[in-house]
Amino acid sequence: MSPSADAIAVAAILIVVLAAYALFGGADFGGGVWDLVAGGTERGKAPRELIDESITPVWEANHVWLVFILVLLWTAFPPAFAAIMTALFVPLAISLLGIVLRGVGFAFRHTAQRLRMQQLTGVLFAAASLITPFFMGSVVGAVATGQVPVHPAGNVLAAWTSPTAILTGFLFVAACAYVSAVYLVIEAVHRRHRELTRYFTIRATAAGLLTGALAGGTFGELSASSPYVFGRLTGIALPLVVVSIAAGIAVLGMLWLRWYHPAGLRATAAVAVAAVVFGWGLAQYPYLFPRSLSLAAGSAPTAALVAEFVVAGLAVLLVAPGFVILYALQQRRMLTTAKSDADLRLAAQLEPAVAGQPAAAPASTATRITTALVLAVVAIKAIRELVSPRNGQ
């Protein structure tokens, strides 16, 4: 049974939304990674400020893509959603934990004044930026290898702890860091900050090379763990893989030559990531879970798919003008951080009193990395402890 046209169309929308989240949300996570390794209070001040300025405006809107992924998946492909959520309960729950901690870090970071509090929220933000993409990657790896059973009886530890899944997790972290660093180069160029431009150029190059290496490793693993996907990646999806590799090399070349063309750099880096996501989608076709759950068997009735299609159309109709207004206003510099309410306060006759203390600085790198590692190790230990006895039965 071949999948219906609606199922293919909604699956295509899902892949586009996934790519959008990988690009926009991924860049935000990557920002957290660079924040983590930015060094001590003094040394890391400039890059941290740049990261903060470039994530603050967008993280909320970028986060909405994730909600769209969940919603699309559960409405259009309910059996797949239920199976993923059951079998991969553990990595999903941990990635959710990361999302919440990041939000807390964000909400409190800018208001916290005391050093301790700023360090704590900074650590939360950075640790979460590492944990979340890693476990999301392991989920994708588990799906791509077809190790998610269609009717799981509970957690499936083997699915997301396979070498492929773990490698995909690391690949996600590296890719986030890479995309983010490229965007930060553009931001630094935009601000005419020569030092930071160099700083992030080096990091973008390093992350790009690491991403390439990890992608190669994952690709190699796939040949053994998921012959079907590997076969299609080297077959019908090969052009997309080639495009991605070419774009990746092009970005590295642009960075090497210091040719910081903002739109060009941004688009090329985006193509490098999006092409891989599209390639993955094409390689899985016509399966939701390779070889076990087909698109035809796993999709909702036609009316539900059409409804999702309508929603996607409405979203474009309603949300796109909103974004146009937002960006148009921002370009015309109509949107600024409020400087002070002094004018209104004077007019309202609320007299000012004494001035407060200046803000303190975030945590040292050592503290951040240690905390992040300890959190990760404890989490994995706890899960293994909890899950393994049942698996052994």
């Binding site: 909400a107 509970g154 957690n155 009735p301 510099r333 002070s340 002094a342 000012p352 009193a353």
Partner: protein, 482 residues
Amino acid sequence: MGTVAHVLAVNPVPARSQMGSSLGFHIILACFGVAFAAVTMTAEFIGIRRGDAAALLLARRWSKVMAVLVAVGAVSGTVLSYEMGLLWPGLMGRFGAAVGWPFSVEGIFFFLEAIFVGIYLYGWQRLPAWAHWWSGMPIVVSGILGAMSVVAANSWMNSPAGYTLSHGRITNVDPLSVYFNASTPYETAHMVLAAYMVTGFLIAGVYAVGLLRGRRDRYHRLGFAVPFTIAGIAAPLQVMMGDIIARFIEHNQPVKFAAMEYVPRTVRDAPEWIGGIFINGRVYLGAAIPAFDSILVGFNPHTRVIGWDTVPASERPPLVTLIHLSFDLMVGLGFFLLALAAWQGWWWWFHRRLLLTPWFLVPAALGGVAAVAAMEAGWVVTEVGRQPWIVYRVLLVSNAVTPSGGVPVTLAVILALYAILTVVSIGVPMIMSRRWRRGAPAEEAAEQVPYGPAPTPAATGTSSTPPPPAVPGASSGPRGAP
């Protein structure tokens, strides 16, 4: 160890507790997402219209608090989206095609809200006054429509409709019938009104405390009056709505209604129990108004009220005492808030000024907490009252719960996280307000909220030229009101 984990895993109680606590937490923040923009824009309207600087200052500060609360709400809302699958794969796997679609509609409004909150928050300085005011309008509209979409999904679980089931799989869906199911108009209206009451009474409560402490300037009086008026208008509508909904539930989900009102057996002349604990077929410590339940249901003491004996014991909701007392608490607090609003309205009608005696302000300061408690109690009634069904008379909770182990762990983690989120969403506005009271201009300028576009280079660079005043009439003085 393995068996213990297994027992805990297949038992729906941890999953139910986790969903309940997540929903119970998120719903408070969601109220601010729905209604805060309207409150802020009312203050801004007064400020622009009358050139009232105090009102404008209130609006500007409220928008900052709104940004923090909406951001935390976005995160806790994501938790709920995950939990739909993590905890209830049996629901989403079988009925996702139906119940999932209202959530997709909500996604659009979530996006719109996020975009326009950014514009509203960062447009204060440079946008023309009325253009800025209008930029808040999409937040108000998408807040209401977004809430309706999410609640429509919950309504569907109470009144499932618009799908065809064959061999346990959904084979056809009618999206409009899913969205506009029998419960939708009642539940969505009830929730939107509740959101306005919770937001209005909570904000008003903050300023009531300020007034009690002797800060009786125009800033504090307006800060109290604007949200209190909005919530006070919603209160009588809500009480009326509640009465209508009770009759609808008696008709639509009679067993839930029986649990709410302690009706074990189908009877005429059913008494209305106020308070009381139900043990072994008897109500202790409660006061009964003879035949009043029948009157409320059918406007006649001889109206027959259906009891829970009409369904087998396995299909009756557990914890009837909890359901009944939650219902009583909700109704009682609703009337308390209505009385507060009526008292202030009466005084304003005859004296044309605010009633600011401690006799009024002390209960008014607690009004926000009361509104939250009433809303939480209402959710307990509707959610526990639907048990043991997750989709009423279609799917049992025990068939929807995840078979994965680890829910007790995530429950513990979630509870800890919500403790943190609560501290953040109360603590951040408190820190802001303390700074505002200290009134150090430099500090307020540096204040950041987790939202909106970055400061443009022009804005950060040219500090020598002051920005144009947000409102032409802003400097005309604080006593612009009649």
